[in-house]
């Protein structure tokens, strides 16, 4: 492929090939400071390509390809190249990750211990992670938390943080010094802007942490808090994992350990400030 970009995010190396220069240039800029894949051999290959020759120039649209693909995935316009690359890389992890148990969760770390926040799209896990990072927590990731079945530790996957719609403004205000990607208006998920994790989070991406708190946040409700029993936690976490079944016995071991050892709480919150207060209060009680 004509234009190539490589990067390592946490333990996973990626190779992104593109028929157009623009997405590669954007990725190089946003991921500056990230390491290269280990031994220059990436774990996953992603391709951004023109499905028909004329799609290269005529209303150019990017079809996603790679080691693992969803055949029904809709193409994206060239202007959303960074989003296309992000989606394709996420897909490789979601479908191809076999060493770590993958949870759809954001994670932040303090003093060697981590809070994992999981929930449906729109629950606010990316926003909360970004805001906690602004308050001094180390950002481990906003989309995937990687659990090592052998040790029970959570490993960082600090990709570009994906902020949507109103969250963009909230986070930009909290992080005036932050590095942001271009504003992508009118994507299938609304307006999107990417936040680059701070240099400390990037530098420490290889440092795992001990999970200490599992949160199931829900945005847009009055403040509330509810402890969760282990079987409920187990069911919710397996629903939040794309590779639990594929990991077999290792997945079972990792999941049951999480459920047994880590405090779990469902929290409702009306706005980001309330959530941050709530999280830090809970953390202090551990």
């Amino acid at each position: 492929m004509k234009h190539v970009f490589t990067v390592r995010i946490g333990p996973a190396g990626f190779r992104v090939g593109s028929d157009w220069r623009a997405p590669i240039r954007a990725l190089e800029r946003l991921y500056a400071g990230y390491p290269a894949p280990e031994d220059n051999i990436p774990d996953f290959t992603v391709r951004l390509f023109a499905a028909r020759p004329w799609r290269h120039w005529l209303r150019p649209s990017i079809t996603l390809g790679g080691d693992f693909v969803l055949p029904e995935a809709a193409p994206l316009p060239l202007s959303q190249g960074v989003l296309a690359a992000e989606m394709a890389m996420n897909l490789q992890m979601a479908m191809g990750q076999r060493r770590y148990l993958l949870l759809h969760a954001s994670a932040v770390e303090r003093e060697g211990r981590a809070v994992l926040m999981t929930g449906l799209s729109g629950a606010g896990k990316s926003t909360l992670a970004a805001l906690l990072a602004a308050r001094g927590w180390r950002l481990m990731g906003d989309e995937f938390a990687l659990i090592d079945p052998a040790s029970g530790l959570v490993h960082a996957f600090p990709r570009l943080v994906s902020l949507k719609n109103r969250a963009i403004e909230v986070v930009r205000k909290a992080l005036p010094e932050g590095r942001f990607g271009p504003l992508l208006a009118g994507t299938p998920k609304g307006d999107i802007q990417h936040l680059v994790p701070d240099s400390r989070s990037i530098a420490r991406m290889g440092d795992p942490a001990r999970p200490a708190l599992l949160l199931f946040p829900r945005f847009g409700f009055d403040n509330a808090e509810r402890g969760l029993g282990p079987s409920e936690v187990f069911v919710r976490l397996t629903q939040a994992s794309t590779n639990y079944v594929a990991l077999g016995e290792r997945g079972f071991a990792a999941m049951t350990r999480l459920v047994r050892e880590v405090a779990a709480c469902a929290i409702d919150y009306p706005d980001a400030d309330a959530a941050i207060t709530h999280v830090e209060r809970l953390w202090a009680t551990l």
Partner: protein, 348 residues
């Protein structure tokens, strides 16, 4: 560099050829293996080849996954056995599940997708009822497809298990009834081999015939490298046990009308994987001399670049059209495509 899947083929039949690969070489090799569904096989074959730590790690991750997949596939077979045992009909495992269940080298590291079984045609209705009662359901609800399937295909419409979310394909013969070649399914069932668990697999010559039929008559050669690898491993295994194995395959293939397919499969296996197959002049004359068209098949089979992309568009297209024509007489093809078109599908 203009890569094709020769990189993968060589690494499989001659693992040490991968030892001098650089980072780019290992990257391409892994991407091609993934695209050809041969990752597990590659892992197994290059296990002892010195390689960079990152390559070791990536392949080790794949290895654990293959073991889990194999376990799940064998469980599917067991679940089918339990569901069908009261019918008392022979159940013959096919393809990857068969190789794994019989612990053949063809099964080592092999990725296994759906469960494929062969049952006698007159048991099909009972089998269908038993599976539906045991938690399987139809994967596609389209009635046109269903009528077409039942009348012309060699299998039931696909079934998927409600809770385990895995598919089962129930065949009553190995090629569609619309194909020009009609293998003798009854003979295959009669000669099948019983496993300890009560399930069956095809006899060795029939496994080769099935793989060869599948390779050419059933598709557009997609997945061909894997299919051909199966043939290579099966041949090597059985030639060790029985010197004139190839001869027994030819005799059987002739009975099924699959001799041409088997000959071509053997020639390509020899060409791509150096499979030590041989021709005979007596008691029957079967030659494995290369034919000029082999080059075109070889080209199609190896049409994969270092990014895992399918290459050689025109060759691929030629094979795609050819495969459809093989499956259906032209008049039926037109009607099939017309009806699908009217329903708003893109033409198949």
């Amino acid at each position: 560099m203009n890569r094709d899947a020769t990189l993968l083929a060589r690494a499989l039949y001659d693992p040490m050829s991968a030892a001098p690969l650089d980072a780019a070489g290992w990257t391409d090799l892994i991407a091609i293996a993934r695209a050809e569904q041969l990752t597990g096989t590659l892992v197994h074959r290059v296990a002892d080849v010195p390689k960079p730590p990152a390559a070791s790690r990536i392949l080790a991750d794949a290895r654990a996954s293959i073991a889990d997949q194999r376990r799940a596939a064998l469980w599917e077979a067991e679940a089918a056995r339990r569901a069908l045992i009261s019918i008392g009909t022979p159940i013959i495992l096919l393809k990857g599940t068969a190789y794994a269940a019989a612990e053949l080298t063809a099964g080592e590291g092999r990725s296994i997708g759906d469960l494929d079984i062969l049952v006698p045609r007159d048991a099909i209705a009972q089998v269908e009822r038993a599976l539906l009662a045991a938690g399987w359901e139809w994967a596609k609800p389209d009635p046109y497809d269903d009528a077409y399937y039942r009348r012309w295909m060699h299998e039931l419409p696909p079934l998927i298990h409600r809770e385990r979310d895995r598919m089962i394909d129930v065949h009553h013969t190995i090629l569609p009834l619309t194909a020009r070649i009609t293998p003798d399914a009854q003979a295959m069932i009669a000669d099948s081999v019983l496993l300890d668990n009560g399930l069956r697999i095809l006899s060795a010559p029939d496994m080769i015939c099935h793989a060869a039929a599948h390779l050419f008559a059933d598709g557009d050669l997609a997945g061909g490298l894997r299919n051909l690898w199966d043939i290579d491993r099966l041949c090597r295994d059985f030639m060790m046990r029985h010197e004139d194995f190839c001869l027994s395959v030819y005799k059987r293939a002739r009975h099924h009308g699959l001799l041409v397919a088997v000959q071509r499969a053997f020639r390509l296996a020899r060409d791509i994987y150096e499979t030590p197959v041989r021709g005979y002049s007596a008691p029957i004359c079967v030659s494995l001399d290369s034919r000029s068209s082999d080059a075109l098949f070889r080209r199609r089979l190896l049409a994969r670049d270092g990014w895992g992309r399918p290459t050689r568009r025109l060759t691929r297209f030629g094979f795609y059209v050819r495969s459809h024509w093989l499956r259906m007489p032209p008049a039926m093809l037109v009607r099939h495509l017309w009806t699908k078109w009217r329903k708003g599908y893109r033409s198949a």
